[in-house]
């Protein structure tokens, strides 16, 4: 099928996955409104499966997008490999996030449809964020995602921490939105359009380099994104929000919001604003450096695993920023790949933390993990896999991901970033290993209750997650190929053609031989 954006219907087709998720969300919400449920049980027992089904449907719809041909990429939404890959990641995060969260919702007696609705709405925001090419849609998407997540953060109304986290996140988020919006306004003021693909020539003509308004716009836009991906120094909300939020939500936030944020950075900063590279290169470089160093150090001082993981997730934003800073197809592919891997490991880790923490999420201190490995061998093993992957240790996906980022940095000549990446990883070994040593090297005291057995959905998600990480570590070929293709397949600015011009072929539609096995590294002389 050939998409032609002159027809509005075709825009619906282009947005099909998002629409499926949104509709599912609305259905869930309606069900919740009209169902009478007790406060301690799900309002409708099958909203969970329903949501999962909807998400799987969205996955299928997303896969269907792959078959489309798009001669002219002139809509506000891109239909390219990058977006589809991001959609897969976000949908995966949603599916696994939900699977992991059922146990928690049941345990805490807070299984309501609105939780699922909020998750689905956030997912819609995230998906749009990865696909849109228009600043207006960008703003709406980011707010859709953020507002849903604010609520999710404060979902546990009985918890003081949850409320505090929500307030902090909300105030900071709204504050950051102001800057983001101002950035959008300034960019618009400089280039005269919200659809950046249409303003190519304006910047390319060279008027940009001494245009302070454009610079300020780009900088503020970047700040807005940096806040979402919690890059230092805009990360301060993260540990608090992550710690206070209900743990499954934390995992979902850490994986999904970050993925969406990076998608936006990659698309808007490195692609759409590529001609303004001189503005953002340095900023991203410094963000990457700081974001690798600061949280890794701070995590050393944590004795709460959940908060430690929160810092760790900030650190991972730093690693991902290295891929962005490399500013090459290889870097973008690496970022994509790492996002997928990161999502799997961070979701799993937070899920295990809540399982160990017990009702009310009370036991998430390091000492509460003593002896876990021997008491719950499978859970322990899965956690070891997640932690080793977070640490970037072979044979896990985390290692391949870091190797990918590393090669991107080396290829772009960013050796300082590369070395910082490995040295900060080294620091991170310490605090990841510390969890392992608590789990295996120390005995659990009698008073420490054994974590309850996880449910079926949890077990399924955790085993798939852990196995996937191992597979990604040992046989990453397929994943690498996909990431490589998606990373190169971003709708390029130059592909925007005037209506009526000859359709240009999409890169991903080209002969598959173009991305042959050995071409993961881009041209050396960029």
């Amino acid at each position: 099928m050939i998409l032609d954006f002159s027809s509005s219907l075709h825009i619906v087709w282009a947005l099909l996955p998002e629409i499926v998720v949104a509709v599912t969300g609305l259905v869930v919400l309606m069900l919740d409104v009209f169902q009478r449920g007790s406060r301690s049980a799900p309002s409708a027992p099958w909203v969970g499966p329903l949501a999962i089904t909807g998400l799987v449907g969205a996955v299928l719809a997303n896969a269907w997008l792959l078959t489309l041909e798009v001669p002219a990429q002139n809509a506000q939404i891109a239909v390219d490999g990058f977006r589809i890959a991001m959609n897969f990641i976000v949908l995966g995060v949603a599916i696994f996030g939900l699977l992991y969260s059922f146990d928690w919702l049941n345990r805490e007696g807070q299984f309501t449809g609105e939780f699922i609705f909020l998750v689905l709405m956030a997912v819609v925001g995230m998906m749009l964020l990865g696909g849109t090419r228009d600043l207006i849609v960008l703003f709406v998407a980011i707010e859709l995602m953020s507002i849903s997540v604010y609520v999710l953060t404060g979902y546990d109304r009985r918890s003081r921490r949850s409320a505090e986290a929500a307030l902090k996140y909300f105030l900071m988020g709204a504050f950051a939105s102001g800057f983001l919006l101002y950035g959008i306004a300034l960019i618009f003021g400089s280039v005269g359009s919200t659809n950046l693909s249409l303003v190519t020539s304006e910047i390319a003509l060279g008027t940009a380099s001494n245009n302070p308004m454009l610079f300020a716009g780009v900088a503020l836009l970047l700040v807005g994104f940096a806040f979402k991906v919690s890059a230092v120094p805009f990360h301060m909300w993260t540990p608090d929000a992550y710690e206070g939020a209900p743990t499954p939500v934390t995992g979902f936030m850490a994986a999904g919001v970050k993925a969406a944020g990076f998608a936006a950075i990659v698309r808007f900063i490195t692609i759409e604003l590529a001609p303004a590279a001189e503005f953002w290169e340095g900023i991203i470089w410094w963000l990457a450096m700081l974001t690798m160093i600061v949280p890794n150090l701070a995590a050393l001082a944590q004795d709460d695993v959940k908060r430690m993981l929160a810092y760790s997730s900030i650190a991972h934003a730093g690693y991902l920023l290295v891929g962005v800073a490399a500013d090459s197809p290889l870097g973008r592919s690496a970022t994509l790949f790492y996002l997928a891997v990161y999502a799997a490991m961070t979701l799993g880790s937070f899920a295990i933390v809540y399982l160990v923490a017990g009702k009310g999420d009370v036991r998430s201190k390091l000492s509460d993990f003593r002896g876990l490995g021997w008491r719950r061998p499978l859970l322990g093993a899965a956690f070891v896999v997640f932690l080793l992957s977070l640490a970037g240790f072979p044979p896990t996906g985390g290692f391949i991901g870091k190797l990918y980022l590393l090669s991107a940095a080396v290829e772009s000549g960013e050796s300082v970033l590369a070395i910082t990446l490995v040295l900060t990883s080294l620091i991170s070994y310490y605090y990841y290993l510390r969890v392992i040593w608590k789990m295996y090297f120390e005995e659990a005291p009698e008073s420490l209750p054994t974590p309850e057995r996880p449910g079926l959905a949890f077990g399924f998600a955790a085993s798939i997650g852990a196995l996937a990480l191992l597979v990604a570590g040992l046989f990453p070929g397929h994943g690498l190929r996909t990431a490589s293709r998606a990373g190169e397949d971003l709708v390029p600015r130059a592909a925007v053609v005037a209506p009526g011009a000859a359709p240009s072929a999409r890169p991903s539609g080209q002969d598959p031989a173009a991305s042959r096995a050995s071409s993961n590294v881009s041209e050396p002389e960029r």
């Binding site: 902090k168 608090d240 050393l300």
Partner: protein, 673 residues
């Protein structure tokens, strides 16, 4: 297997070593059998009693056959038996090769011969010991390694034996390991020897680098052409080799281990620390005579160290009370003589003295062993814990142990150089050549040391066998002569101590027939070295530094020795000693000598203790402090930085927003300013 007569017949054509591997294998098999026995049939004394001595006597028999064959063939070149390739890497090829020439044959005879006697003696001496089987395992193993040392056809194989005998020495010194001091003595011997071995190693490296091989034949053949006479290289090689010799043969400065080594059973002292192992250094110098001959500086060093050691040890020996310590210092002193000989280039004389010394010093040690055996037995009977070795506890033993008494006097006269015993000929030859080759000072030292030798040996005999018995009234009745299995070896050695010198009788002596048997025998071995020496101006002076010919000085020295013996005897025989327990430590010069010139203490204070302190410092300060400290400090610092950093996370939104805005302003500022 070929029959013996046939072998002897063939020998005329050319010398082929007969059963060469078995010379080594027999002691090795003995060691293994006894070693297994030490674990598995510890109570059984029959097997070790047979296997131990038999292994060595068997080897001796093969050696004798070989000796006869070699004598018949009179080969000029050594016969090399290659067993297998030991190491082969890069340009280095080291074979397990055995060299049969006149020198090694002589050594083989001495080693296996004396060993056989001592093994038999040990059957009696060690009979009561619970470690009987283990003892023979060690002793057999020692013979095995000693034979390797002697037979090695290259430096590396010699070194195997060299360190192997050191190992056995270590094991045997510490044989009674439950005594902490004995075990320490073994350790000391090993470590001090290792210092010498370091020299040997470096010498080997030098040889390999300059010759590309370690084989004696090749090296000696190439040396005169490859190295400059008196050059740095050959001097270095020989000096490093000599460092090895000072360790193994207990010369200054590494002699300190040997007196302590008396902690081992007395037959061990006789075999290892008198007759065989400690002479390995002399053997090595003789073996590498070509190299030494090319290095006049090294020769002078060897001779000077030898002379110095001879004198120093002799002085110490005069004031020792432990019968074995006296003999130990005597050994050190006699080894000094041998080094003087090989140092000045009188190789045959050195080897000659090595041989005779093996006889009479083994005899003296075994005799002292008999004394100790008797003393120990007596004290054991009365449950006394007095020291049986201390001569102050002995005295008057001639009444109880006549055979021991007689044979030991023979040994004493032999070592003192009284005509016509073995020591007379060998020692006289050394002293004479020292003077004749122009080493005047050394000659004087050698003469003085010879007189001291006579003195302290007489003192030993007097204190042990003459005068009143001081063993104690209750123990005295239990003193008696040792059994036949022990005195027969004494007798054999006594005979050898008498006749052993007759193989080499100089022309100069009147009346006596000139005998050159040893000289002729060793001639092919030392010919190249002598050639080099003579080419560089070595000449026989035919008169001593202060005049007088060989015959005259031989007469003077033997008469002087006799005079010393008589005077010492008369001076001491009526003197009364208090038993050791009642004695006070000697003072004055006697005290200094009694305390061995305080050399051990000196080494302790200037080397051992500072080193230990340095090592502790390395551990505590460098390792634990500096390196680990900085690494742990780095880790702690990182964590501290992390902790401080996390304090910025105040929990207050206003702070967070402040950082946020700061970040924004910094970014904007970078471009706008």
């Amino acid at each position: 297997m070929l029959s013996l007569p046939l072998l002897l017949q063939e020998a005329h054509a050319a010398y082929e070593p007969i059963l060469p591997a078995w010379i080594l294998l027999l002691p090795l098999i003995g060691a293994v059998v006894n070693g297994v026995g030490a674990f598995n049939w510890r109570g059984n004394k029959a097997i070790p009693s047979i296997v131990g001595p038999a292994a060595v006597i068997g080897a001796f028999a093969i050696v004798v056959v070989n000796f006869l064959a070699m004598r018949a063939a009179a080969p000029h070149d050594p016969a090399i038996v290659s067993l297998w390739t030991w190491m082969s890497a890069g340009d280095l090829r080291i074979g397990v090769d055995l060299q049969f020439d006149q020198l090694s044959m002589l050594m083989l005879l001495v080693v296996t011969g004396v060993s056989s006697v001592i093994h038999v003696y040990s059957v009696g001496y060690m009979r009561e010991d619970p470690g009987y089987s283990r003892y023979f395992a060690y002793l057999n193993l020692f013979v095995f390694f000693m034979l390797i040392l002697v037979l090695g056809a290259n430096f590396a194989i010699t070194f195997v034996g060299w360190e192997g005998v050191g190992l056995c020495s270590y094991l045997l010194i510490g044989f009674w390991y439950e005594n902490r001091e004995f075990a320490s003595a073994g350790k000391k011997a090993f470590i001090v020897n290792r210092i010498g071995d370091f020299g040997f190693l470096v010498a080997m490296f030098l040889v390999f680098v300059h010759f590309g091989t370690l084989n004696y034949e090749t090296v000696f053949a190439a040396a005169p052409a490859a190295l400059a006479y008196g050059g740095a290289v050959v001097t270095a090689i020989t000096l490093f080799l000599f460092l090895g010799c000072t360790g193994k043969s207990a010369q200054i400065p590494l002699y300190v281990w040997l007196p302590d080594a008396m902690a081992g059973p007395t037959p061990v002292s006789a075999l290892i620390h008198a007759a065989t192992m400690v002479t390995a250094g002399v053997y090595l110098v003789a073996r590498t005579s070509v190299l030494f001959a090319m290095a006049p500086v090294s020769q002078a060093v060897v001779a000077a160290v030898g002379a110095g050691t001879a004198l120093l040890a002799a002085t110490i020996a005069t004031q020792q009370y432990d019968i074995k310590k006296v003999l130990a210092y005597s050994t050190v002193s006699q080894l000094g003589y041998m080094f003087v000989a090989v140092g000045i280039g009188a190789y045959t004389a050195g080897i000659f003295h090595l041989m005779t010394h093996a006889f009479f010093k083994a005899l003296l040690f075994l005799g002292s062993g008999a004394v100790i055996h008797a003393m120990h037995h007596a004290y054991h009977e009365v449950h006394s814990h007095e020291d049986p070795n201390d001569m102050r506890n002995q005295g008057g033993l001639r009444r109880f142990m006549p055979i021991t008494f007689a044979t030991m006097w023979i040994g004493t006269l032999a070592i003192s150089g009284i005509f016509p015993l073995a020591g007379f000929f060998s020692k006289d030859e050394i002293i004479w050549y020292t003077g004749a080759y122009g080493y005047g000072i050394l000659w004087g030292i050698a003469l003085v040391a010879a007189l001291l030798t006579a003195g302290y040996m007489t003192r030993l005999m007097v204190m042990t066998f003459h005068g009143e018995n001081r063993t104690g009234a209750d123990a005295e009745p239990h003193l008696h002569e040792v059994p036949a299995v022990m005195w027969i070896p004494l007798a054999i050695l006594a005979v050898l101590s008498i006749v052993g010198g007759w193989v080499n009788i100089p022309d100069a002596l009147p009346v006596l027939p000139a005998v050159h048997a040893l000289h002729d025998w060793l001639h092919p071995v030392f010919e190249p070295a002598r050639g080099i020496l003579e080419a560089h101006g070595l000449h026989d002076a035919h008169s001593s530094p202060i005049g007088g010919g060989e015959a005259m000085w031989a007469g003077i020295s033997t008469v002087a020795a006799a005079v010393v013996i008589i005077l010492t005897f008369r001076a001491l025989v009526h003197r009364t000693w208090k038993p050791a327990a009642d004695s006070t430590e000697p003072t004055g010069l006697a005290g200094v000598l009694y305390n061995k010139w305080y050399v051990d203490e000196l080494y302790d204070r200037t080397i051992v203790l500072p080193l230990l302190a340095l090592w502790r410092g390395c551990w505590r300060i460098v390792d634990a402090g500096l390196i680990d400290g900085s690494i742990n400090g780095l880790a702690a610092g990182t964590r501290a930085v992390g902790w401080i950093g996390s304090l910025f996370q105040t929990g207050r939104v206003a702070t967070y927003m402040f950082y946020f805005v700061t970040g924004v302003l910094v970014i904007l500022a970078t471009f706008l300013l």
